[in-house]
């Protein structure tokens, strides 16, 4: 069965940034959290809680994919998309198209950063804010 990242436990988030560090390290071999596909943010300062911006694993219509003129984004089993780097022209159309703001852009590599639902971050979230959910295999 396919799995997808869920952020239902964000009320427990302590803002440790372990998820971002791990995502950037595992997927980009980089210490910079700007390379992470998940972003932990605050609503205007630390006095308010944290929330996560990351791909929601859209299932039926995927706006990012629809917007991609080259077909570099393909449907991922269980929701979301996968990036075919070689086909990407760096046009950033996907960045604009995703209305939850979950497509980030790596200026250095000239490629979008999109969560691939690998689950690494969930293993290093100390308070189970992030979890992997089993989902139908539908494309």
């Amino acid at each position: 069965m396919a799995r997808a990242l869920r952020t239902d436990g964000m009320r427990k988030c302590i803002g440790c940034f372990s998820c971002m560090t791990v995502c950037a390290a595992v997927n980009k071999h980089n210490f910079s959290i700007s390379k992470s596909a998940i972003k932990i943010k605050t609503n205007g300062g630390l006095k308010h809680g944290f929330y996560a911006t990351v791909c929601h694993a859209c299932k039926d219509d995927r706006a990012c994919l629809e917007a991609c003129p080259t077909g570099a984004l393909v449907e991922r089993k269980g929701g979301g998309v996968l990036l075919n780097k070689d086909m990407c022209t760096g046009c950033k159309k996907c960045v604009d198209a995703c209305i939850v703001g979950a497509v980030f852009f790596d200026e250095e590599e000239n490629l979008p950063i999109i969560c691939k639902h690998c689950g690494s971050c969930t293993r290093f979230c100390p308070h189970q804010c992030l979890t992997m959910e089993e989902v139908d295999d539908v494309l």
Partner: protein, 592 residues
């Protein structure tokens, strides 16, 4: 820098506006953090000038393995302390270390004085000194939100700032880091104020490739597991450090009502559980820490008639509850938070502030000072007036309050009551009255903090044994040396048990520093030696310290202490310091 053979130092001169970046290979001999900062302080300070002279520097440094391993989260600040006149050293968590790392700097040296109020922005693409005239006078919360709105960098920045106390040069003014953390002790806030520097924002997200991903991630995962599985860490997350309030009071080691007692009869009402039940709304972490010991409590305050209420949230921990709770006889959680809020807004060190107020309450009661001077009928437990007095200290509303802002040693010397003005070598006492370990530990510790050598912990584990002077001195000195090492990485001391030598060597190896245990010990000693040299140059001698009598009148967890015995232990420690100072530093050659 990771994988490089140098330390990258950013120099900012506020007088001339000049910015310079140095790559210093020689500083590798000091590893990072407190080591590098001590050396830079020694190079940049002038022992003949007063602490708040514009030529005295402020040094910030991150550690050799900052931010990329669990719980290695702190930044050190070093300066000449306006409170003690000697070594100023203070640590803060939050996001500062993380952002300095990603802005590309291991250390920042700030010298000179701005002509008008300013704030500094540090990014990977430049450094600027900006106008802060309209921010002058603002409390630290407010200036934080203004800078947050004005500057870019959401989510990957750190904003550090002072409140009115720093502007008004209170000797124990603090610097607030990212709302809930602080460079609290020894008066860094006043040094900011003396330079007309209100704040600094550091932003960074430089790409930093990991060349040895496999090794790195193996090490990261292993440490993450150890950190999140230890029992201590759960303790710090659940109820947090305030869990110690009740047991310490029961043992008689919780300084209460200006240390007239070591037991607080209302300890239960201000315990970790009580705060959790009444006020706790959130827990937070410094960047890179899976534990999250930061506890935020909320209380409601009526700010006007007609049911006008506001909800105020402030951070609380053991030290704050001791200094602004038991030490001042405040017996309920809302009351403690009420005083914490005042201390926060004004930007003062909570421990020093509590101790100064403790002296003032007793001095007024004894008639050493008058109500005309205190303006308020200051007394133990009256948290509304105590909070007002905090405002008065920060503003220096009259001569007495201005003197109170210079520390308890200063004010008690001037007005009287030296023997119940609870300071150790000029620094207000920490929240432990446990025995010779805590008292002598703070006296001989390089920055007179309970964290220099954790003497209180020695007292607790040797409670039933007879005092062994040699053993205590051995413990204090070896702990002080080991902590020089931990503080050069800079590991949060809550995780000190996880970071054994083996683990320290492992993380250093991951970032390109492959050292033997012997080399690490040499480095740690070199750091301590540098700090001792700085203290000496500033005229400090252990023998000159005169401790207030009350330390020897109020029983500790290990019984009453004897002044002569305390002096003897301290002198033995001083002798050992001389030995360390005289040692030939052979291994420094490996680095030059």
């Amino acid at each position: 820098m990771f994988y490089k053979d140098y330390i990258r130092v950013l120099n900012i001169n506020l007088s001339t506006g000049r910015i310079r970046v140095d790559k210093r290979k020689d500083l590798r001999a000091y590893l990072g953090g407190v080591g590098v900062a001590s050396k830079l302080l020694q190079e940049n300070m002038n022992p003949d000038l007063p602490p708040l002279h514009e030529d005295q520097p402020i040094i910030f440094a991150i550690g050799a393995a900052s931010s990329v391993f669990p719980v290695i989260t702190k930044t050190v600040a070093m300066f000449v302390s306006p409170l003690t006149g000697e070594l100023g050293e203070s640590y803060a968590g939050g996001r500062l270390a993380f952002t300095m790392l990603h802005a590309g700097y291991d250390a920042i040296v700030i010298t000179g004085k701005s002509q008008k109020p300013c704030y500094v922005t540090v990014t990977q693409t430049g450094v600027e000194i900006k106008d802060a005239r309209a921010f002058w006078g603002m409390d630290s919360d407010k200036v934080g939100s203004y800078i947050r709105n004005r500057e870019h960098g959401s989510g990957k920045r750190s904003i550090i700032r002072i409140g009115p106390a720093g502007e008004n040069l209170c000797s124990y003014a603090s610097v607030c880091v990212d709302t809930y953390r602080h460079f609290g002790r020894l008066g860094l806030g006043a040094v900011f104020g003396s330079k007309l520097m209100k704040a600094m924002q550091v932003t960074g997200d430089l790409p930093m490739p990991i060349p040895n991903f496999k090794d790195y991630f193996k090490t990261y995962s292993k440490l993450y597991k150890q950190v999140t599985e230890t029992e201590v860490m759960a303790k710090y997350h659940d109820a947090g450090t305030p869990i110690n309030v009740e047991p310490l009071s029961a043992m008689g080691g919780l300084p209460t009502r200006n240390l007239t007692s070591g037991t607080f009869e209302h300890a239960e009402n201000i315990s970790g559980e009580a705060f959790a039940k009444n006020n706790l709304i959130r827990k937070m972490a410094c960047t890179g820490c899976p534990v999250g010991c930061i506890h935020i409590g909320q209380f409601r305050r009526e700010f006007d008639h007609g049911y006008e209420y506001e909800a105020i949230s402030v951070g609380y921990d053991y030290e704050l509850i001791y200094a602004l709770g038991s030490f001042l006889g405040v017996d309920n959680t809302d009351g403690v938070l009420y005083v914490i809020d005042a201390v926060e807004r004004n930007g003062l060190d909570a421990m020093s502030c509590g101790v100064v107020l403790g002296w003032a309450c007793e001095a007024l009661e004894r008639g050493i000072i008058t109500e005309e001077q205190t303006i308020l009928p200051l007394k133990m437990g009256d948290y509304v007036n105590l909070a007002k007095a905090v405002d008065y200290i920060a503003q220096g509303v009259n001569q007495l309050y201005t003197d109170m802002g210079k520390g308890v040693k200063h004010v008690a010397k001037k007005y009287g009551g030296y023997d119940f003005g609870m300071q150790i070598a000029g620094n207000e006492m920490p929240g432990y009255h446990t025995g010779y370990g805590s008292l002598v530990g703070a006296l001989v510790g390089a920055r007179h903090s309970h964290l220099c050598n954790a003497g209180y912990s020695y007292d607790q584990s040797n409670r039933d044994k007879e005092l062994d002077k040699e053993k205590l001195v051995d413990y204090l000195i070896s702990e002080e040396i080991e902590r020089c090492l931990l503080n050069s990485l800079i590991i949060c001391l809550f995780a000190r048990k996880v970071y054994s030598r083996e683990n320290i060597r492992m993380v250093l190896k991951c970032v390109g520093l492959d050292y033997t245990d012997e080399t690490l010990t040499d480095i740690a000693k070199r750091i301590l030696r540098t700090k001792l040299e700085i203290k000496k140059s500033l005229g400090f001698a252990i023998q000159d310290v005169k401790l207030p009598k009350r330390f020897f009148e109020t029983p500790t967890t290990t019984g009453k202490l004897d002044q002569y015995m305390a002096n003897e232990i301290a002198e033995e420690y001083a002798r050992r310091c001389e030995e360390i100072l005289a040692e030939e530093d052979e291994s420094i050659k490996e680095f030059v």
